[in-house]
């Protein structure tokens, strides 16, 4: 994690890309999420002050929209699609396998901060269900064996049992 001063400076830079209006709060928060992999607490206060809106309202937004997270996500973000098509093609088996390999469930991050797991509702690639993305890269027709291989490629797998 970066130092607070550095993050604050980057936050200000980000905020200034938009007009100073409350309606851009979601856009600013999302840019922040993409930059820091989370919404740091300090940044939330900075944005609230900058836009002139109450902190509680921004906090409400940060907890309402699932694209935003207040806790840092892992370096490697695994998203398992649990859309209906993937669900009936056994996405739950993949989610269970993630728990076996990395000991995390949906919404959780490994202790060392390396991996995060999220379930998402439909990535729009239903033909190759079950689908996962690893840091936005798509993998289709995933089996437990394939999952192990993919994760080993990112440095977490058979050795983390």
């Amino acid at each position: 994690m970066k130092k607070t001063e550095e993050m604050n400076a980057e936050t200000v830079e980000l905020m200034n890309k938009y007009p100073k209006e409350a309606r851009y709060s979601l856009a600013i928060l999302q840019d922040m999420q993409r930059k820091f992999n989370c919404i740091p607490k300090e940044s939330l206060s900075l944005i609230a002050e900058h836009l002139g809106i109450p902190l509680s309202r921004l906090y409400s937004m940060a907890t309402f929209y699932k694209a935003l997270s207040l806790k840092p996500k892992g370096e490697v973000i695994v998203k398992v699609c649990d859309g209906t098509a993937c669900h009936i093609r056994s996405s739950l088996v993949i989610i269970e396998e993630m728990r076996k390999i990395l000991n995390i469930g949906p919404g959780e991050t490994t202790e060392d901060g390396r991996f995060s797991l999220d379930t998402v509702n439909c990535l729009g690639s239903c033909a190759i269900a079950p689908v996962i993305t690893v840091n936005e890269k798509y993998y289709g027709k995933v089996t437990p064996v394939m999952l192990r291989e993919i994760l080993t490629g990112y440095g977490g797998g058979s050795d983390v049992r």
Partner: protein, 599 residues
Amino acid sequence: MSGNGGKTVLVCCGTGCIANGSLEILSALRERAAKAEGIDVKPLIKSTGCNGFCENGPIVKIVPDQISYYRVKRSDADEIFDRTLLGGEAVDRLLHVDPATGKRVRSQMENEFYSRQTKLALRNIGEVDPADIDDYIARDGYKAFAKALLHMKPGDVIAEIEKSGLRGRGGAGFPTGRKWKQCASYDSFPKYVVCNGDEGDPGAFMDRSIMEGDPNTIIEGMLICAYATGSSSGFIYIRDEYALAVKNFTCAIEKARERGFLGGNILGSGFDFDIQVVRGGGAFVCGESTALMASIEGRVGEPRAKYIRSVEKGLWGKPTVLNNVETWANVPLIIMNGADWFRTIGTERSPGTKVFSLVGKIRNTGLVEVPMGITIRELVSNIGGGVPGNRNFKAVQTGGPSGGCIPESMLDLEVDFDTLTEAGSMMGSGGMIVMDDRTCMVDVARYYIGFLSEESCGKCVPCREGLRRMGEILNDICAGKGREGDMEMLEKICETVSEASLCGLGKSAPNPVMSTLKHFRDEYLSHINGKRCPAGVCRELTSYFIDPEACVGCGLCRKKCPADAITGSLKSIHSIDTQKCIKCGNCMDVCRLKAVKVR
């Protein structure tokens, strides 16, 4: 053109094909072309949006030869270039095989998946490079808008849309012309035009493919509406997960501005209009129109009561027209070809076509556009190719979390807005999820309630607390803890949730539960009284075993078992160790003789 014989290669770069490596094919083709002499690379090899036949991607097409290749690999690129582009002959192994005749067919139109389709909203997708506005213009792009702006009065434009009978394709089926007319009638400015690109139904990706593959048709539709209703400001709200759609749409807006189709004094007429892209934040409820507008305003996506319609007071309390992506895609065609033409397609109450995403347990998964009035049987069996493997059709789930299940007995229903609603489901945005006998309908209901429990905004009591308790009951039932009276309690809660909820999400949330209770009641009873899941899905209620009468000892199940739970030597009866079994169901899926059964 210099030395490429007027040929173009179209490589499908919709998200599905990209996942299967189409970008690598694109660059491999471009590399090969760069090495060839006397060839102008750029016009030759283009990337397009989704072709719809996603089960068989990556798809590569050559025009004007009308050759379509499927399941292309990077290693095929050189051969395609040398043999087809330069040599003029087809690479047989990459052609589609007609399942009826067993013969290979060259063109897309000979492919039975496409031949029954009528492409209106999807007319350009797979044929144009979405980043190239000239491709769009070459196919009559922006002509409808010019016609409206320069030769029609705003009132005439609205009248034409009304006459066409176009209804909102997002699911509600509200008459589009009436919506525009109402908005135009209010003397309150500024007015807004919004595109709902927050396609959230799991299993639905129609809107994604239009936004990615032909953003200009949406821009043109919105321009026509803006002119007709007196708006100068538009928004497109794109779901956060659709990164490629955001990219392609943003690019299309920039190009449209450069050409003078967006901005000030468009085509010298004094009419101004521009569109802003707004990214969603990962909330299904933001597909609801008032929640979407709250989100654009920078607030949480909580819906409001719609006693005052958005056409009167929408964004920032001003008259707003909000329409779905597919609805916008139809508008330019109606203005270009006329309402009477549009009415010749589809049914009396639902003119035009509908784009469906056919997914799940079906051979040909992908996107199809067909005239309204087609039967579900035609969609599933003929275009979709039926259920794969040796499994049996069980149901089609239409309308996503707001819809219901259509069992086999209702397959001859004609698809349009009203017929399906009258049958207890709804057409919804077009997601069609095919389910076979290995799908547990109680689990499907449980899945949707779980989904909605997280996605509900949580503001009103019936939806929030109703979903909570329905989820508890369904989870119990699937875990073997169902009680007597559970089905009645579910029905009781469903009634209140559907009548008393604040918004459409809550009001339609009970649909999957109600329709599965209606058509698959015996499955519920089996779970509650028999403590058994006939489909072999609910873990606590499933115990797999191999029928010694049916097993021939082929060993396929043993090979596919991820838990090493099956023992048996070749040609002798196999058996499952229930202690090791993780109940993934692979064995049941692969056994051709259906020897693996559920107790």
